[in-house]
């Protein structure tokens, strides 16, 4: 195991963790405050990537496209809340799951209809294409640093919003007791719609940031949403702090597991056995960790205090 590879993989893990946090924070916000299970959250991540791709070509600039796409995604979230989520709040979780499952089918097919079955490669401007030397021969692509920076920035902004603003105070109050908040004269429906829009914008942002690396493609949301579920289960559903820590943990473990597990296994077994078993185990690693966490703490690592 050489050190520079370890550093690079740690950065990749950090990047995955931050993207997971952007998706999971929206999920956990919506669930914590609205008690609503939104399977279609991954579809919003995908939509973010596609909007950003189209706008990058239209505006000729990736960063500009991101800034324009964020309010668009918030608007999409707002509409989704109005049309689908609001009538379902009073129902049980099973109806949430089925309704949003229907929404995934609709959104996936619409994307297929509009953008075609092929993925879209998103070009980066030249100044983001390069690499930044860290030390010696260790280099990191500039864009990955940008993702890490943007992820940390969004996480910080969210932390500030939830903990130090009036809106955040209302959000926290709504999570503890929504009837009381409503009785105090707060427009709770407006608050719910805002939270939904915020979640959509965050998921969309994650999709936009990953698009230049993986390309915007149908089904990309369905892959990340399950990992985001693992994140919020491990972190404790409804907890922002839990989502952040669990996202980084899962991102690092998944990335490091995929690159180093065969080396670790070689200490214990033959090279051949290690090379065949490592991919299978690393594919299951985060689920095994989830199971282990749940076996000891069924509410996750940082369950919210009031629910």
């Amino acid at each position: 195991m050489d050190l520079s590879l370890l550093v690079i993989q740690m950065l990749n893990g950090l990047q995955l963790g931050l993207l997971l946090f952007l998706v999971a924070s929206g999920l956990t916000l919506v669930f914590g405050i609205l008690d609503f299970v939104n399977l279609a959250h991954g579809a919003l991540y995908m939509l973010g990537a596609f909007f950003c791709a189209t706008l990058t070509f239209a505006l000729g600039n990736f960063l500009l496209a991101v800034f324009v796409s964020i309010p668009i995604m918030a608007a999409v979230g707002w509409v989704l809340e109005r049309v689908l989520a609001r009538p379902l709040y009073a129902r049980d979780h099973l109806d949430h799951v089925l309704g949003t499952f229907g929404a995934i089918l609709v959104i996936d097919t619409l994307v297929h209809l509009i953008w075609g079955p092929e993925g879209i490669q998103v070009p980066l401007p030249d100044y983001l294409e390069g690499q930044v030397p860290l030390w010696g021969d260790v280099v990191v692509p500039t864009f990955r640093l940008l993702i890490i920076g943007a992820g940390l920035g969004a996480a910080g902004l969210l932390f500030w919003l939830v903990n130090y603003t009036r809106l955040g105070m209302l959000i926290r109050a709504g999570a503890s007791n929504r009837t009381m908040v409503s009785a105090l004269g707060i427009n709770i429906e407006m608050l719910f719609a805002l939270v939904f829009a915020l979640g959509a914008a965050l998921a969309g942002l994650a999709g936009m940031l990953i698009a230049p690396i993986t390309e915007a493609s149908i089904g990309m949301g369905n892959n990340i949403i399950i990992t985001a579920f693992v994140v919020i289960i491990v972190g404790g559903i409804g907890s922002m702090k839990g989502a952040f820590i669990a996202a980084l943990l899962i991102g690092l473990i998944d990335t490091l597991g995929r690159s180093f597990l065969d080396d670790i296994f070689k200490f214990a077994m033959s090279t051949e056995a290690a090379e065949t078993s490592a991919p299978a185990v690393s594919a299951m690693l985060i689920y095994i960790i989830m199971a282990a966490v749940l076996a000891f703490r069924p509410q996750g690592l940082f369950p919210p205090k009031v629910r």
């Binding site: 669930f31 299970v37 689908l84 009538p87 379902l88 979780h93 099973l94 109806d95 799951v97 089925l98 309704g99 499952f101 229907g102 929404a103 995934i104 089918l105 609709v106 996936d108 097919t109 619409l110 297929h112 209809l113 369905n222 399950i226 579920f229 693992v230 919020i232 289960i233 559903i237 991919p279 299978a280 690393s282 594919a283 299951m284 689920y287 095994i288 989830m290 199971a291 749940l294 076996a295 069924p298």
Partner: protein, 335 residues
């Protein structure tokens, strides 16, 4: 007999009679449709045991279907390429393996999942199913992403599953047996406790029942039946890919149960029939519109690829406005 029993009997007789008639009159395609419907109905009935009667919203049922199918495909693969003995094509071995693997998986994951409640349970069952999905994808020997062709169907004495009618017969008899079994389970003391725990878990615990064990046993039974359905599905499609255990399939199975009506014996069967027919009708009518557009306007658009769009909209409408599923409609008239 009540109206419900009559409808159940009529539906099951129709399912037994119609497909062979279609087959003999030269519409073999409809027999295939009926076989797929019947196999999925078995899985839906098994899901209904925990979802409908137990109130345990499992979003990972497709994994059992997939594991069951791989329990047919993997021995058949080794039989062909490694020349292991003919036992590897024996149907009893396949079904034994399918049931053993799925009930073990259900026991291990169920023991963990059932420690949690509500939305945690939904997400965890989903995550464990996805774990199996990624596990299969990572094993390149069995085709990984691309899937595995099942070269030989299960062999049973006196039964030839290569004959479509016999395969349908096996699936149909299995469905009837599974329906009777689930009916027996839910009307037994065990089933009563299971339903009581759904209604009010704390009260049932206070009455002295360890509901965790009851739910775990139901979870394992449900998984084993779904695994059996998977073995049949493998025999039907003769091709198995991780796609089969995708969470979309889990969602579709849930939809079948809800569409037909939860916590009823016939509901899931009606639900899967409605699902399969709906899919068929949507694809057919979109193809028809395609030809129409091509003929009149000279537009060539492949619409039938997009059947998920009207399907998803229908799903949303049903969730929003139809309560109690198809069985709910039948029962309402009785009142």
């Amino acid at each position: 007999m009540t109206r419900k029993t009559w409808i159940t009997l009529a539906a099951m007789v129709a399912l037994a009679v119609l497909p062979p008639v279609f087959y003999w009159t030269g519409n073999a395609f409809y027999l295939d449709l009926a076989t797929r419907l019947t196999i999925l109905a078995i899985a839906a009935v098994s899901l209904n045991l925990i979802l409908g009667y137990g109130g345990l919203i499992s979003f990972g049922h497709a994994a059992y279907l997939g594991l069951g199918a791989y329990a047919v495909g993997i021995p058949a693969y080794h039989w062909l390429y490694d020349g292991i003995g003919d036992w590897a094509t024996n149907g009893f071995v396949h079904i034994g393996l399918a049931v053993a693997i799925t009930s073990t998986f259900a026991l291990i994951t169920g023991a963990i999942c059932l420690r949690t409640r509500g939305v945690y349970f939904i997400m965890i069952t989903m995550a464990f199913a996805q774990m199996i999905y990624y596990l299969i994808v990572s094993i390149e020997t069995y085709g990984g992403d691309d899937g595995l062709v099942i070269d030989t169907r299960s062999e049973f004495p006196g039964l030839n599953l290569d004959k479509p009618l016999q395969l349908f017969g096996l699936a149909y008899v299995s469905l009837v047996v599974v329906m009777l079994l689930v009916n027996m389970i839910v009307n037994s003391r065990f089933g009563m406790v299971l339903q009581a725990a759904k209604g009010n878990n704390e009260r049932t615990v206070t009455l002295g029942f360890n509901t965790y064990i009851f739910q775990l046993v139901a979870y394992v039974i449900s998984g084993a039946i779904a695994g059996y359905a998977g073995a049949l599905l493998g025999n039907f499609t003769t091709f198995i890919s991780p796609e089969m255990m995708d969470w979309r399939t889990s969602g579709e199975l849930m939809f079948m149960v809800i569409l037909g009506g939860t916590a009823t014996i016939l509901g899931p069967v009606l639900g899967s029939a409605a699902f399969i027919l709906l899919e068929e009708i949507l694809v057919d009518s979109l193809t028809w519109v395609e030809h129409l557009l091509d003929g009149i306007l000279g537009m060539k658009i492949e619409l039938s690829n997009y059947w998920h769009l009207p399907f998803g909209l229908l799903l949303i409408i049903i969730v929003l406005y139809v309560r109690g599923g198809l069985m709910g409609l039948i029962n309402r008239k009785e009142d």
